[in-house]
């Protein structure tokens, strides 16, 4: 029976650990489908994590935090758009600059505001969603029906984006500018406009993921707290083959790896805990190697469009 409880706990927290990664990787999926690579997710998530806590403390509501985080994420993404789409610099280099900038902005901002006081104020967390009837179900109830709203929002976004890419004009256009921008342009689609939209959306999503991480999971901001999740999110996009529903599965896989890692530390106290902390990163590399054979990235990924 303890095993059962253990597995239920593991599955439930896999959803929670997957959520920050899921948001970031769904945004990146849209960006990459439009042909814009953003390796700076890590920096945007850091800004989102910081602004989320700041906004939550200021407004007294986690939703206020989410709103401020999204504004911050869009501002960071706008910088990426400016350098990639207007100045047409190498997208990877601009992304690297975003990582450095996000590290600085979040650390600097934190020490000026929340971290200036002795004990940083705690951010009000998102309420847990209790659905009468469902939450009390055995096994499924604790796994699926007692999370915070952003967990469901993330899953809903994956389904929505899958439908959006496949069945709407905008979705088709976004795929078109990522596969063959010249043809899209000839068909009268404003390539860079679609790309701008995709980039800003990606920034908002990455920041929302960072906000969930700080406000919900940790309950506050810690410098460099994203610790590689931005890159794991990119790995999820590749492993999920640029399809939102598969990206959801990939994010859940990493969520499970992280949840398992923390539990294993407790089960096996004799094994150095650092070996367990390494696990998700090793899984990311392994997942990429596995996905490598069947990888087919958007044809115009990383290439600036010149008319």
């Amino acid at each position: 029976m303890i095993d059962m409880l253990f597995l239920i706990g593991l599955a439930a927290s896999a959803f929670r650990f997957a959520t920050p990664i899921l948001f970031a990787s769904l945004g990146e999926t849209i960006g990459q489908r439009a042909g814009v690579l953003n390796v700076g997710l890590e920096g945007i998530m850091l800004v989102g994590a910081f602004m989320g806590v700041l906004g939550a403390v200021w407004t007294g509501s986690p939703w206020g935090g989410l709103a401020l985080a999204i504004i911050g994420g869009i501002a960071m993404a706008a910088l990426h758009g400016l350098f990639c789409l207007v100045f047409r610099v190498d997208q990877i280099l601009s992304g690297i600059a975003l990582i450095v900038l996000g590290t600085g902005l979040s650390g600097f901002g934190y020490r000026l505001t929340l971290g200036a006081a002795g004990t940083p104020p705690k951010a009000p967390p998102f309420p847990r969603l209790e659905i009468s009837g469902l939450t009390d179900l055995p096994v499924i109830g604790p796994i699926l029906f007692q999370h915070q709203p952003m967990v469901y929002l993330g899953i809903a976004m994956a389904i929505l984006l899958a439908w959006f890419l496949r069945h709407t004009t905008w979705g088709l256009e976004i795929r078109a500018v990522g596969e063959n921008p010249a043809a899209a342009d000839a068909a009268g689609i404003d390539v860079n406009r679609r790309r701008w939209a995709a980039v800003l959306f990606g920034g908002a999503m990455a920041a929302a993921g960072g906000c969930y991480l700080s406000v919900s999971q940790v309950g506050g901001f810690v410098e460099n707290m994203v610790s590689g999740r931005g890159f794991i999110a990119i790995a999820c996009v590749v492993f999920g083959q640029w399809r939102p529903l598969r990206v959801l599965c990939a994010a859940l896989l990493f969520g499970a790896a992280e949840a398992a890692q923390i539990r294993l530390q407790l089960i096996a106290p004799n094994v150095p805990y650092q070996l367990f902390v390494m696990m998700p990163y090793v899984v990311a590399i392994a997942a990429l190697v596995l996905a490598a054979r069947s990888t087919r990235l958007p044809a115009a990924l990383g290439k600036a469009f010149v008319r």
């Binding site: 390796v39 910088l79 350098f83 100045f87 047409r88 610099v89 190498d90 990877i92 280099l93 601009s94 690297i96 600059a97 975003l98 990582i99 450095v100 900038l101 590290t103 600085g104 902005l105 979040s106 650390g107 600097f108 934190y110 020490r111 000026l112 410098e223 610790s227 590689g228 890159f231 794991i232 990119i234 790995a235 590749v238 150095p272 650092q274 070996l275 902390v277 390494m278 990163y281 090793v282 990311a284 590399i285 990429l288 190697v289 490598a292 054979r293 990888t295």
Partner: protein
């Protein structure tokens, strides 16, 4: 036509001035956001880092690992291989070097030092080589792999200095002092400037010659600009990618070993915080030119040491240094874009 060339130079100089000005204004805005005086901040920064003997010595000390790792980044980036893993390679190089001299005690001085540095290079090269091989063999993004490797290496280090390699006293998360024979001595007495400086300058020359005057350097350049052309020209592009990552990681590993041998004299937690990310900025500012890397490393040394002084004297939070560095990177990118545009306009 002469006039056109002059005009272009003038425009480029103007663009440089504009970018520098914009960068200074942006930096000043952040300083003001913290409620501090930007002019006083810049004065303290430059006054300590450049105006005092002690400060400048610290700048040089900081520039040594940045120069070595920056050279490594430059080699990889020239090959269009984005090695963001210098952090991990620095750590693995240092661990392997320290482990080697601890495993074989009693080596005579020069030999111990040679083993130490060679193992540093080997550790970084192997670690970087893994990412290069995964990219060449499976087409796996070296960006993600090298970053993941960074986190793995850092966890490995925190384990090592608390577990198998911890000091005999068992008090702090660090190793025992390494044998003196394996350590680099001071180059300038009364400062912390060690012989790693000479090593960094020698490495700069070697990388310059290798990139400019060897067939490997030529192949790196061709693969970097266009792997398809490289393949048609009979260059084994995948092999070049792996070799570039081996060299790049080796230089970063050397940076790690030198930092231990010259400065800390023992393995410890977090001995090179963020150096790998900094090394990217160093390489970009140098426009991937090996001979420019030491100067670029010095500039980032000034930024870093200066920001430390600013935190002590004015109370500006230290993470501002990352903002300054991001401004420098974006400035370099913006300048590159202007240059590309003037070239296009001329064509």
């Amino acid at each position: 036509m002469d006039d056109g060339l002059n005009g272009r130079r003038l425009r480029e100089a103007g663009a440089l001035g504009l970018v520098v000005l914009a960068g200074l204004v942006a930096a000043a805005l952040f300083v003001m956001l913290a409620g501090k005086d930007p002019l006083a901040t810049f004065r303290v920064m430059l006054g300590y880092a450049l105006g005092s003997g002690n400060g400048f010595a610290e700048v040089v000390v900081r520039a040594v690992p940045l120069c070595l790792a920056g050279l490594g980044v430059a080699v990889a980036f020239r090959c269009n291989v984005f090695n963001i893993g210098a952090d991990g390679q620095i750590v693995v190089g240092a661990i392997l070097a320290a482990a080697a001299v601890m495993a074989v005690p009693g080596l005579p001085g020069p030999l111990a030092l040679a083993v130490f540095l060679a193992c540093g290079i080997a550790g970084g090269a192997i670690y970087g080589g893994i990412a290069g091989w995964l990219r060449a063999r499976f087409g796996v993004s070296e960006i993600i792999v090298t970053i993941m490797q960074n986190y793995i290496a850092i966890q490995f280090l925190t384990w090592m200095v608390r577990g198998p390699m911890q000091e005999a006293m068992g008090m702090f998360p660090r190793s025992d002092r390494l044998p003196d024979g394996a350590m680099l001595g001071l180059m300038v007495d009364g400062t912390r400037v060690h012989w790693g400086l000479a090593l960094a300058l020698a490495a700069t020359l070697i990388v310059h010659v290798a990139m400019r005057h060897s067939s490997f350097g030529f192949q790196v350049g061709v693969v970097g600009r266009n792997p398809l052309v490289a393949r048609f020209a009979g260059i084994a592009d995948r092999r070049v990618v792996v070799l570039a990552m081996l060299a790049s990681g080796g230089l970063a590993g050397l940076a790690g070993a030198v930092e231990i041998a010259g400065l800390h004299h023992r393995l410890q937690d977090d001995f090179a915080p963020g150096f790998g990310l900094l090394a990217i900025a160093v390489a970009l500012l140098a426009r991937l030119e090996p001979l420019a890397v030491p100067f670029s490393a010095l500039l980032f040394g000034v930024l870093h040491v200066g920001s430390g002084a600013v935190q002590r004297e004015i109370g500006l939070p230290f993470p501002v240094v990352w903002i300054f560095e991001a401004i420098v990177i974006f400035g370099c990118l913006g300048l590159g874009a202007v240059r590309a545009r003037t070239v296009r306009a001329a064509a």
